[in-house]
């Protein structure tokens, strides 16, 4: 308790720390948002809740790390991971997801959970359980008497995340495939009647999600570090964000991602870093309760 009080008083004693926490939080939040964005896509279009989301992120990180080890410039690892993970996502879709998509919720949860375990163990067998990261040869910008540090690598990572997110939003709005995906999300049967090949849309959506995750992972390996079993961290955050923002609300997902990043950093500062994940889960609970109260106000008939 003393520690909590003294931690809060530190925030007031050194106001610049608030800015530092906020910047750190927004940076990590941007990457949470990216993974959540893919989850919202798959959830909204296919009604599959992908528990392997975090493991796709980590797999993308390993692709980038592996290629960097072979001599590829680290920044190119992001597009490379995007492409490789697109392929892996497509294979996963054809092998597993396409078979459970019409089934009930429980089957698809189990299938993606299995996928998550498989990916983590395969990464472990291929690359070992050590933590890995790529060190970029860039400097760090120091502001406010050295209190705020912004590694240029992090800045580049966040910019890449922003570019990717904008790209996907434009793609969904403008392109023919984007329209088909949105149509399928609204009503798959009607879309089929109108001549949309929903099977192709599903495969595309799942691959796109996997590719987005892969790119997020490639950024994470440059900025933080990865380990085969870190997937769950990103999976939990993705679920919290999507639940908070709702499906089909992409700006909401981004806002929620940034928000959760910042709140977690504050929580870690005040209650200790050990409670960082607990704070994410607490937020999920809070969001669910609020949602429930909101829903109650609506008149609904039994179906």
């Amino acid at each position: 308790m003393d520690q909590i009080v003294s931690n809060i008083s530190l925030l007031f004693e050194f106001p610049v720390v608030n800015l530092k926490i906020l910047i750190d939080g927004l940076m990590i939040g941007a990457l949470f948002a990216l993974a959540a964005y893919g989850l919202a896509l798959v959830w909204g279009v296919m009604n599959v809740k992908n528990l392997a989301q975090g493991d796709f992120v980590i797999a993308g990180g390993y692709v980038a790390w592996w290629l960097a080890g072979l001599g590829l410039p680290p920044l190119l690892g992001v597009p490379a991971a995007f492409i490789v993970m697109w392929g892996i996502g497509w294979v996963c879709y054809k092998l597993v997801i396409s078979r459970v998509i019409e089934r009930d919720l429980f089957t698809s949860l189990l299938a993606t959970f299995g996928l998550a375990i498989m990916i983590a163990q395969i990464l472990n067998l291929l690359f070992g359980s050590d933590t890995q990261s790529i060190k970029l040869p860039y400097d760090t910008i120091y502001l406010a008497d050295g209190f705020i540090d912004i590694p240029i690598a992090k800045l580049i990572g966040v910019c890449m995340a922003a570019v990717l997110a904008t790209g996907v939003i434009i793609f969904m709005k403008r392109s023919r495939m984007g329209q088909a995906i949105r149509a399928t999300a609204q009503d798959a049967r009607a879309a089929r009647v109108m001549g949309i090949d929903t099977e192709k849309v599903y495969a595309f959506t799942f691959s796109l999600n996997s590719a987005i995750c892969g790119a997020a992972g490639a950024i994470i390996v440059m900025v933080w570090l990865i380990q085969p079993f870190y997937g769950i961290t990103y999976a939990i955050r993705s679920f919290v964000i999507v639940t908070a923002a709702g499906l089909g609300n992409l700006p909401g997902v981004i806002a929620a991602g940034l928000g959760i990043g910042a709140l977690e950093q504050y929580g870690a500062h005040i209650f200790g870093i050990g409670y960082q994940q607990a704070i994410a889960v607490l937020l999920l609970l809070l969001v669910l309760v609020i949602r429930l109260i909101q829903q109650r106000r609506k008149r609904q008939s039994l179906q």
């Binding site: 050194f14 926490i21 120091y142 050295g146 380990q227 079993f229 200790g272 870093i273 050990g274």
Partner: protein
Amino acid sequence: MKLSTAIASCLSGAALLASGWASVANASDCEPLRLGAAISLTGKYATNGIHAKNGYEFAIKKIDEAGGVNIGDKCYNFDVTYYDDESKGDRGATLAERLINQDKIQYMLGPYSSGLTKAIAPVTEKYKIPMVEAEGASRSLFNKGYKYLFAVLSTSEQYLASAVALAAEKAEEAGKDPSSVKIAVAVENDPFSLDIRAGVLEDAAKFGMKAVIDEKLPRDLSDMSAILTKVKLLKPDLLIVSGHSKGAATAVRQIGEMRINVPMIAITHCEAADVTGKFGDTANDILCSTQWAETLSYEDELFGSAANYETEFKSAYPEYGDKKVPYQTAQASAAVYVFADAFERAGTLDKEAVRDAIAATDLQTFYGAIKFSEAGNNIAKPMVLRQIQNGAYNVVAPSKFASHELNWPREAQ
């Protein structure tokens, strides 16, 4: 003349070959002596689990080459049945039951990590199976009154405690009272790291030092900037971080990025995280605790000196070529050596006699002296602190084995 030397060398070569054959033949004449081990070959401890397994196998090979284990007038070779515990405690306990009940194993080698050892020890204890373990350092293993558990390594509360004494020494040299030293502690929330924390805080209390930061790291740590920001604000004189390799990697990376300027930083698992290889100069002047270093002046008859162990192990396992041989491997080999020594002294395969012989162990090894307390932990070997100096690990404490001077205070890199 030339011909005769050629013949002579041929003959001596043949003789060498023959003696080589003879010793191999000897060794294969020996009966197998079965040991069991549940060890992490997959899961989060896989890297270190495999290090430990390699250590076991290397020692077994060395003992085999030296003529096996002589018990009475018969000779034996160790033959280990391994199972993969997937880095999970419940799995480890099940596999221990299986080794004992189905495979009829009478002697066990330990798993990797304190957590797994904690899961398996009650099982071996129940069946009165002697277990010599090399990878479980938590002191909570040695306050349960276990009679059949023996550990060759130093217990974990000693890992970084010597850094506290070192900080006190430096404060005195600078003309300050040791009690003015401020400590920041960030450790993972697992039995091993919590022991380290306890050891550090106990020693700090002896000097009257104050812990200004005392936090637990989450299991899936990849960002500790929240703690390091506080370090910047509160300016401790000693920063302690322990969170296995991910803790070491995260700490060193972010200490560099955030230009954390603490006079003394002590962490665990530097080698496992390869902090010098991954982060270069950033890792300089950081203190790393280790159970063993190949530069120490320990030696024995089987493995030779610590340095010799390193060379021979590397030639047997070329994949370690450009890395340091981790202490996890060395202590695993030492555990096998303890078994061999105890069997020979007991002179029988009787479980109880072997258990008593292990308890009476008083052995000088390449890994350090081994002598067990009543509780089963090794009390004869000190922990070593090494400082990363220009990318090299140099022993700086305890002073008896120190090869280099401590760089203090640490400059921000």
